[in-house]
Amino acid sequence: EAGVVQSPRYKIIEKKQPVAFWCNPISGHNTLYWYRQNLGQGPELLIRYENEEAVDDSQLPKDRFSAERLKGVDSTLKIQPAELGDSAVYLCASSLHSPPDTQYFGPGTRLTVL
């Protein structure tokens, strides 16, 4: 069975440009998470979806970040415009049930903003 799939794996952009990340969770997993991981740090939750509903977006910087999960399966995370401080690894995870439940992480997208 395929795990969580993310693309692209790497992205380099100049500041003020937009960028989007895509995530395909494990089949049947209702809960989807987006995390940001800075170098040497643990992941920090940005947003959690239960099916297509965003149930926790308190840590999402809403002035420049947006996310969607229109059909309750795939999800996209967008940054517009990107800033230098947005350089990080963006991780997607999914779980079968709502928390607390085992989360399965994708490989992440490493974003570099120049």
Binding site: G40, Q41, L45, D56, P99, Q103, P107, G108
Partner: protein, 111 residues
């Protein structure tokens, strides 16, 4: 505020020896704890979890110990192998709230 941290940023262990990775948490209300392993270029991988009504849980070559009195969590890896080289994160959560990760400990395996 809530925080989860690790005592050591790096740990070097001889191959074949046992590894002990420690973690301190600050929120006494946390009731679920997880250990993750993250290899270079990959996302975190679930290792083992424990709920606050337990003080010990064993898996394959791994044991997690929870001491609620001093708010301390540890991960023990038996007979450490080269494939155990990674960064290990402890994480805590309360009920259905978000998981809070610590900063991580990098485990080096010495030949």
């Amino acid at each position: 505020g809530e925080s989860v941290g690790l005592h050591l940023p790096t740990l070097s262990v001889q191959e074949g020896d046992n590894s002990i990775i420690n973690c301190a948490y600050s929120n006494s209300a946390s009731d679920y704890f997880i250990w993750y392993k993250q290899e270079s270029g990959k996302g975190p991988q679930f290792i083992i979890d424990i709920r606050s009504n337990m003080d010990k849980r064993q898996g394959q070559r791994v044991t997690v110990l929870l001491n609620k009195t001093v708010k301390h969590l540890s991960l023990q890896i038996a007979a450490t192998q080269p494939g155990d080289s990674a960064v290990y994160f402890c994480a805590e959560t309360i009920g259905d709230d978000k998981i809070i990760f610590g900063k991580g400990t990098r485990l080096h395996i010495l030949p």
